[in-house]
């Protein structure tokens, strides 16, 4: 049994089959007219599916991927290693929290249609394929499976111009980026004659003929551009605020956590397996200076713009761009400090997942239909009117700002220490300065919640009541606190996972 292929890719299978099952159930289910909408049971079903996926991944972690004989049958298309399993857990966590948030959000805002949940599940499955892909073909399939679901989720609010516009923009630009990525991949195939990432990497390491250097460099440029789009690095980020703002908030949360994590997983795989040789990682023609520049631009621009937003959701969108910049600093450090840098990136992604999902969830909880929390002014005085909601929102904001004892603090600490270990002092200083900038707009939310009174006659946010959303927030809050107080075991997991890739 344990050497079966199905066993090796069990997390993916569990999630996909669960998705199919839920979709079928929804198709054939009949509801009385007065019953609750599909969210009432689909959300829980989706969450359980994701939870099952995460638990299966954890079980495989305990078994040890090396003991899975079946894994060889799917290699190199799907690689089953600790890296994959770690990301499977992170992605399932992000997807599961998004499902819980949707369970509260969709009925509240009269968007309660069943197709959201299958989209969410299949998108997560695509992300899991992407994180485990060891071949350009499977990588592309995973990327598109994930993206198509997300495009549809962004445009889920069909009646809203803004939502539709965001979906179209995201779709167009996403296709553009996918084309760049694919073109780069095609050139790589042309130069090396291989599609497996490890094979391409070995071919580059061995050296290509002198006429092919130019093509190789061009493919690297195109692939870097495509990756930069997916992780929404400046200047490839312009779709992000629009898409994040237009999408229903659970979908936004899913994009901010799961899609971004999967994109970083893809980036790590490609940069390490394909472009991991000394020439590609040199500061002369390699990717580190490019990624360093992207990191600086991403952190700085995103933080400056985020501070000028009047909409909290848009601010959070820019903040997620800025966080991608912090992670990119860790990516640059990969060259000198492969183990700790990658561990720190993965820990950061985990802590970022729970903090961001929590922040979006808290934003959802702050508003109800017709009385949504959109701008800072909507939140004025929330600390007095609804102390519990304001408190939990503040908690996640503090984690995003990197205050101890939350997960965000250790995430940043590890990134900074690994970049200092790699000798990137300038980048480390810029990161710290940027997190000071970021503290401004996070604390501003708290200022409005606790120190401002709403203007007379101004619309105020009235928190919704939903067990699902509360459950999601409770999960996030516990995770943020546990990661903040007890970061070592998850960090050592992340480092194990990192080493597995090398």
């Amino acid at each position: 049994m344990s050497d079966s292929v199905f066993f090796a890719i069990a997390p993916l299978l569990v999630v996909s089959l669960g998705g199919l099952l839920l979709m079928m159930t929804e198709v054939f289910a009949t509801r009385r007219a007065d019953a609750d909408g599909p969210s009432s049971d689909l959300a829980m079903g989706t969450f359980i599916t994701m939870l099952a996926g995460a638990i299966t991944a954890f079980a495989l972690w305990l078994v040890g991927p090396d003991n899975l004989a079946g894994a060889k049958a799917v290699a190199p298309y799907l690689l089953v290693d600790r890296f994959t399993l770690f990301f499977d857990m992170v992605l399932c966590l992000g997807g599961g929290i998004a499902a819980l948030l949707a369970g509260g959000y969709l009925p509240e805002h009269k968007l309660d249609r069943g197709e959201f949940y299958p989209l969410l599940i299949f998108s997560t499955a695509g992300a899991m394929v992407l994180a485990s892909a060891g071949d350009l073909l499977s990588l592309f399939i995973g990327l598109e499976t994930m993206s198509l679901g997300v495009y549809a989720m962004v445009g889920f609010r069909r009646g809203s111009m803004r939502s539709t516009e965001a979906a179209i923009k995201y779709f167009l630009l996403g296709s553009f980026a996918a084309a760049l990525l694919m073109y780069g991949g095609a050139l790589l195939y042309g130069v090396t004659g291989k599609t497996a990432l490890a094979g391409i990497g070995a071919a580059i390491r061995a050296g290509v003929s002198s006429t092919d250097w130019g093509i190789l460099l061009l493919s690297m440029v195109l692939i870097l551009a495509g990756l930069a789009f997916k992780v929404s690095a400046v200047p490839f980020h312009m779709w992000t605020p629009d898409a994040y703002e237009g999408a229903p908030t659970p979908a936004t949360s899913f994009m901010a956590v799961a899609v971004k994590s999967a994109a970083f997983a893809m980036m790590l795989r490609v940069l390490i397996s394909v472009f991991g040789d000394p020439l590609s990682t040199s500061w002369g023609t390699g990717w580190p200076p490019v990624v360093a520049l992207l990191a600086v631009l991403t952190m700085t621009v995103a933080n400056l713009v985020a501070g000028r937003q009047s909409s909290v959701k848009r601010m959070l969108a820019y903040s997620s761009v800025a966080h991608a910049g912090y992670v990119l600093v860790g990516v640059v450090a990969l060259v000198e400090e492969p183990g700790t840098a990658q561990g720190s990136i993965m820990f950061y992604l985990l802590s970022y997942t729970v903090s961001t999902a929590g922040a979006f969830g808290a934003l959802i909880l702050c508003g109800s239909r017709g009385k949504e929390a959109v701008s800072y002014e909507d939140l004025a005085g929330l600390g007095k009117r609804h102390p519990a909601v304001a408190l939990i929102f503040s908690f996640f904001l503090l984690s995003l700002a990197g205050m101890p004892p939350t997960a965000g603090f250790f995430g940043k600490l590890y990134i900074v220490s690994s970049s200092i270990g790699a000798g990137l002092h300038t980048l480390a200083v810029l990161l710290v300065l940027n997190s000071v900038l970021a503290a401004y707009y996070y604390l501003r939310v708290m200022e409005y919640m606790y120190m401002r009174e709403p203007a007379a006659g101004a619309p105020i946010a009235v928190p919704m009541r939903s067990g699902y959303v509360r459950a999601a927030l409770a999960i996030c809050a516990v995770a943020v606190l546990v990661l903040g107080l007890w970061p070592t075991s998850s960090l050592s997991m992340a480092i194990d996972a990192a080493l597995a890739l090398r």
Binding site: S210, G214, G284, G421
Partner: protein, 848 residues
Amino acid sequence: MLSQLTSQFPANDFTLLAAVLLLPLIGAFVCGIFGKRLGKEGVRLMALSAVFGSFIASVVTFIMVAAAPHTATKAARLSWKAWHWFDVTGRGRSVVPIDVSFSVDALSATMMLIVTGVGFLIHLYSTGYMAKDEGFYRFFAYLNLFIFSMLVLILGDNLLVLFVGWEGVGLCSYLLIGFWFDDEKKAAAGKKAFIANRIGDFGLLVAMAMLVYYAGTLSWDGLEAAQSAMAEQRTVWSASYLREFPDWLVWLRDLVTPEQPVRMMVATMVALALFIGCIGKSAQIPLFVWLPDAMAGPTPVSALIHAATMVTAGIYLVCRTSFIFALSPLAMAVVAGTGALTALFAASIAFAQTDLKKVLAYSTVSQLGFMFIGVGVGAFAAGFFHVITHAFFKGCLFLCAGSVIHAMHARVHDETASQDMRNMGGLRKYMPITHMTFLVSCLAIAGFPLTSGFWSKDELLFKAFTNTIVPLNPNIITPPLWYGQMIYAIGIVAAVGTAFYMFRAYFMTFHGDFRGWSIVAGFKPPAHDDHHDDDHADHDEPLEGPVPHESPRSMTVPLIILAFFAAIGGFVYAEPLHQVWPLEMFVSLEHFWSPVFATASKFVTTRPGSEAMMWPLLGVGAGVSLFGIGAAYWVYIVQKGEPAKAFVARAGGLHRLVLDKWRIDELYDATILGLIDAMGDIAAQCDRWIVDGIIAKLTSGVVKVTGHALRLLHTGRVQVYAASMVVGTAVIGWYVFTPHAEATIDARRVRPQGQVRFEAAAGHGYRYRWHIDGETVPDIFSGRRNFSMQLERCEQKTAVLTIKNAFDREAVTTYTQCRESKPGCCKPTDTPAPKKEALLGRVDGGVR
């Protein structure tokens, strides 16, 4: 029984500490979250049982520590590691693990008894004192949280866990001082405390960083073992630190460059940094200003936090790290000197205060000074014993003050008036229990023979007179021999002052006639009795009121217990008595603590013949207290305060100065705060002109221009997004398309052998050509990245690197090197800046 307990809680996994710590935390959580719904009865039950449970567990712990096997030099330590927290990188990339772990030894076991025991009594007292307050549940949540934080501080097994508790008690102190935050002044007092503490905490952070670097550990055991690292001499300031000054700042460099490198012992630096933290938390000169203001909080808070426990954390920290302090006679002298000055200075302020709580506050500052005298002269046990006795008598004094204020509130609701001793007097008739307990505690603090304060204060002053700190080697800076005697003399003067001003407060409050209102038997409060119409200032006719009442039992019981310990608590230490009558069954506390201070004690010696000095100095101590009490009696009872009035009339200026606390606050306002204000103004101007004026205008200008351009082009925004992606891709492409001629320089052998080595950066498709400027240029490019150049003495040569990349584009960089075999033979501007090398590990050359 004990063996069962020992098998249940082994010394290396002492989980009983979890119970001690978690009970107050649970109490804080329940009171804080559900307090409103629980109601006052529920909150009272929760808060009291949490602390009492913690107290019981502490007692068990104390017994187990006492019974645990230990030797004269190795203290018994029961520890519990909760979890591994994180790692930090130490010197030479070593990994320094930081655990969330707790441990208890003789010192912390005693302190923990005080915190939970006195803490419980004050909790009990508060249930009466705060009974009518609306924030009842909030108060107890904070108070429980304080107990938890204080226990973390005491039980933390390393400096970082201690720091967590240290910050926690700071937070609770802030919350409780500003408990009635509607009052602007009280909120400001809370802020002041917080800021003064933050200044000190900075020192603690610096100390931690130095310890991680030099000792490679933060845990107590590890630090104690790292004595050789602590005793190292380190260069802290030398000319080589200033090499990289820009040329136009050379005059500044010459100004601050020392002749000889300044060297300091690691232990001195660490100890002084730690002591900065102690100055803040334990309110010593110059950071003591927050403590008197902290009396804005409810009186039980003043008793618990600002007298008995939190403010003594500084002394605890010095005792805890005694093995570091003892290494450095200089740091010890600073500790003792600061303590002595504070003791005297604060006592002088207390002479003139009329607010009962202010007198007690300054007396606390003064007593904390005494404790620092003790630990600063190497009498760690004596200094720490004063912490214990002080917790009893000062806790009791504050609670008595609270009881008096509670009585005054019957008719006087104004804060200042109800605490003013000029409105009290004669209360001994109406409040017998408060009176008796106050008197006992006053005797204790004045050092009346045989009371607890007598034993502790005399012991530490005696040690100040006789102790000297022996330096590890003769190069270490040591204070002069008369330093100890000087400290002793200052201490004696401060002790006379203490006895005098405490009995001044006692006589003014409890003797003479009651001056608060005219007492009317069977007085009924007016129907419209609210808080506004009772202010004295509004009335011309004398205020009438009922007979002042004694406080309820929940308040008097803690008073009696504390006064009992204040009276007899000294006998558990009473070193002179133990020397006369050594008892087998009754071991002195000093003996119990001595293993903890074993390492530090090796550096402390007593001067010869000091044994003979013990009884005479004991007599001096007793005489001093009797003299102070007698003087106060003569001035305030025999002469009815006339001499004091005469003094005020004759030296009004001095009196006003003392009354205004020597105008220290005003001094800080004028200097430090003025400086900060000025800096703030400059920053505000920068903000207005640079940020708002240039940056904001620029940004909005750019946005406007972009928007205008877009409108002109009639494009939808998505095209712009795509265009920016294209631009981004193009920039990446341009970077890869452009060759980057860069090389790392290895100039380590340039001085001895004249050889410089270069290694050009690698890149896809790069080909290299190296030559020396002025020599023939080879016409072929090769894959050879290395190059070396030979220099004669004082010769200067330039190496030229040409790179051709995959797109056949060329880039050139030159590197000029000079062999500086004697100073000044190379022109300084021609050497490449070493800065970039340090920054990125390589040198960028410009592309030509």
